[in-house]
């Protein structure tokens, strides 16, 4: 992406509003197109108390052909006496929206990589992982240390590759991985809990 007079913002975006005693994290759902990123947010929105979440927002271009991003804010529990807010975003998956993905990713605290388990989507998944790693490096982050949770979606489809293969290929065997059927909600909240644990871990370790 060309950049005009725009310093690269490095580091994470977690920010603290001491006056309101709020701490805000940014989590991005990343992955190939039609892999289930928006479906994850729709399920979370539908199955979280309205007291704890905001509206699910999808901002699109004028003709509604292109999705800029989905956005959902949820609030959960408390950390060190502060109210944590989690801003959940999706990125547009299509290859051509590289610049949009880069901007949405800017300042993320953690990523859920939603992969499509179908055999035919294997290379799309690889492209998504490569793109994610590239964006993290541009943000000044080490992709091997950045909080990422892997979700193998569409496990109910007959052409789904075995999880062990996906885990070995994408997650290096050592990252949190979850099987999911996001359209039915299976694995969605478990994935969310895992990425929340990942992004708040540095704060808990500081205590």
């Amino acid at each position: 992406m060309d950049r005009l007079s725009c310093p690269i913002q490095e580091g994470k975006t977690m920010f603290v509003n001491r006056k309101l005693r709020e701490i805000t994290f940014k989590i991005v759902y990343y992955g190939p197109p039609l892999g289930g990123k928006t479906t994850n947010l729709e399920y979370i929105h539908a199955h979280t108390s309205p007291k704890l979440r905001g509206e699910l927002v999808s901002l699109k271009t004028q003709e509604d052909r292109t999705l800029f991003f989905d956005y959902l804010q949820i609030e959960l529990g408390s950390i060190q006496g502060m109210k944590p807010k989690f801003n959940l975003y999706t990125v547009p998956g299509q290859v051509m929206y590289r610049s949009s993905r880069e901007l949405v990713m800017r300042g993320a605290d953690g990523v859920v990589l939603v992969l499509d388990s179908q055999r035919t989507r294997f290379h799309d998944n690889l492209d998504a992982l490569d793109s994610l790693r590239e964006n993290l490096r541009k943000m000044g982050q080490n992709p091997d240390r950045f909080p990422i949770v892997f979700q193998f979606n569409k496990r109910d489809l007959p052409s789904a590759l075995p999880s062990a293969i996906l885990r070995a290929q994408f997650a290096n065997g050592s990252r949190p991985c979850f099987e999911a059927v996001a359209i039915k909600g299976a694995g969605v909240l478990e994935t969310l809990k895992a990425i929340i644990q990942e992004v708040i871990r540095p704060l808990q370790q500081r205590r």
Partner: protein
């Protein structure tokens, strides 16, 4: 209702992805979000968001146009509730670097467009 643009710096309807950050006096992040622009001119822009900054806040904008990201500093001049319960946020910038202005001028063109009223129900989705 539509308005024919007669400003010195005409606005054109443009939908672009924009990130905004509001810093407090000590340089800490006060508010941060992603939005889409509703219109753009050489003097400022209007964007749509669900978590607006406050009027008079000074904010940093990262505006994506094609493969470019333009970094701008501006001031929030008004915030209005839209029919879809999102907010429209008007931002102006007093002066910006020449290279960025040139890019915005290319985007705005001659401004010979008819703008719909952003507060109307049929304008927002």
């Amino acid at each position: 209702m539509t308005t024919t643009e007669r400003r010195a710096s005409p606005r054109v309807r443009r939908y672009h992805l924009v990130a905004f950050t509001h810093y407090d006096d000590e340089g800490g992040i006060q508010n941060q979000g992603l939005a889409r622009t509703l219109d753009l001119s050489c003097k400022g822009l209007l964007f749509e968001t669900t978590n607006p900054p406050d009027p008079r806040d000074r904010i940093i904008l990262e505006l994506q146009i094609g493969d470019e990201v333009l970094c701008l500093e501006g001031q929030v001049i008004h915030v209005e509730l839209l029919p879809n319960r999102h907010y429209s946020v008007g931002v102006s910038w007093p002066e910006i670097p020449a290279d960025i202005m040139a890019r915005i001028e290319r985007e705005v063109g001659d401004g010979s467009v008819v703008l719909p009223d952003p507060r109307r129900e049929d304008h927002v989705r």
